[in-house]
């Protein structure tokens, strides 16, 4: 099993979610984070213009079985892509074990 952590633009979230659903990945968790990176954004507040690289992003975390990793990655890489600076990152990390709390199932059975 692998954990896939994705940081995307909030405005691509609906696309990514739809794309994941189409590849039958119907389970994940997400939350909002602030990202610091190459992208800069201009703001104005009471006459002070400023530019910040602290930009609101959405983070998706999902754990998939090993044979699903590739397809999930491809799906996300496609759906989250706009081509401009700031599209975000994907990180794949190892998972030792997973449990479904309801049934106490372990391993890949617990994922769906």
């Amino acid at each position: 099993m692998k954990k896939i952590e994705v940081i995307i633009r909030k405005s691509r979230f609906d696309e990514v979610k739809k794309a994941l659903h189409e590849t039958e990945v119907n389970f994940f968790s997400y939350w909002d984070v602030t990202g610091v990176g190459n992208e800069k954004q201009g703001h104005v507040y009471r006459g002070v213009s400023y530019s910040t690289s602290d930009i609101q992003r959405r983070k998706i975390s999902l754990t998939v079985s090993d044979h699903n990793v590739e397809s999930t990655l491809e799906t996300i890489l496609k759906a989250a892509h706009t081509g401009s600076v700031g599209d975000g990152k994907i990180f794949v990390t190892p998972v030792d074990e997973a449990y479904r709390i309801r049934t106490k199932e372990k391993g890949t059975d617990s994922l769906s």
């Binding site: 909002d32 954004q41 104005v44 507040y45 930009i55 609101q56 992003r57």
Partner: protein
Amino acid sequence: MELLTTNNVWMMVCTALVFFMHLGFSLLEVGLTRQKNAINILFKNVFIICAGLLTYAILGFNLMYPGSFLAGVIPDYFFDLFGLSAPVADGALDLAYNEGYTYWTDFLFQGMFAATAATIVSGAVAERIKLGSFMLFSVIYITIVYPIVGSWKWGGGFLDGLGFYDFAGSTLVHSVGGWGALIAIYLLGARLGKFGKDGQSHAIPGHNIPLATAGVFILWLGWFGFNGGSVLSADPSLTSITLVTTCLATAAGGISAFLVSTIAYKNYDLTMFLNGILGGLVGITAGADLMSPFDAVLIGLVAGGVIVFGVSLVDKLKLDDPVGAVAVHLACGIWGTLAVGTFGSMAGFDQFLTQLAGVGIIGAFCCISAFVILSIIKATMGLRMEEKEETEGLDAHEHGMDAYAEFGTVHDR
């Protein structure tokens, strides 16, 4: 003199209350839409009251109260069109203006009304219209369309001659705004994601219901001035019965929308309750001075039902009205105007037909005007934000600002 002073005090209080309705509209609209467009919505509302007062001073007021017409329809605006025509120039004031209140009170009270009509549109087109285009449209609508319609009845024009009755503006204010809203949301199209490919309607929940609720309470408060001031004097019996009918119809509108929507959707839906309250307010507005308390309750009960079905009808027509402006201001505005022919001291079949005629004529005029103005704007400046801008939020693109900079910002491009 004593009476004039008292009348004038009451009218000034009412003016202040009608002014305060603009906060009510702002909070209602901002509460029922999404965080990413909150600054934009507030900006529009703040703009409307400011620009509305100025344009009404420059042009609208004299256009609306002309007393004379060409062919009875087009206000005869060759005199006194620009600028307030103070009865006596240079600061000295004419107290002989009328028995009810001074010229200046009159202007300010009417100016607050004028701005209301455009605010109604603001809620319906929220979250997708270009700010510049909206500002242009609303200025034209307040400055030209609203006063012309107003002049037909309150300015002594042909509808007044026909016997059309609209006490405080179910049609002259609310429907005028409501028709504008209807045409605008038709031309604009729905917000992205509002209707699925399969045509199914999706809910886009508002982000701050406590503020929306506060907005409704403030609007109800403002209506004490809106209807109470439309008596145009402090006449004790007329003002007090007006406030009673207003409050009872409102209460009935709320309770009825709550009951109907609970039965229809098996759920205590606060937003329907709130819309029902507003529906009751709009519904009683045309005949608030004609109704007995019991009539008022009936009008409110019907208005509550109109709201629940109106909201769902708008949805079925694939029109996207985030705050329910069409159901509240147009549907209940029409209902209230017709109710004058059905309930209360003027009820009668002839009156009903006259009311219907008024509704139809004004509706046609507003629709055509709004359609022409908006189509020209659409063709030139464009009406709608680009898809990317809409997805990412109008606040980021038009204002570069966040409404709640620390509760999860929404900036993202």
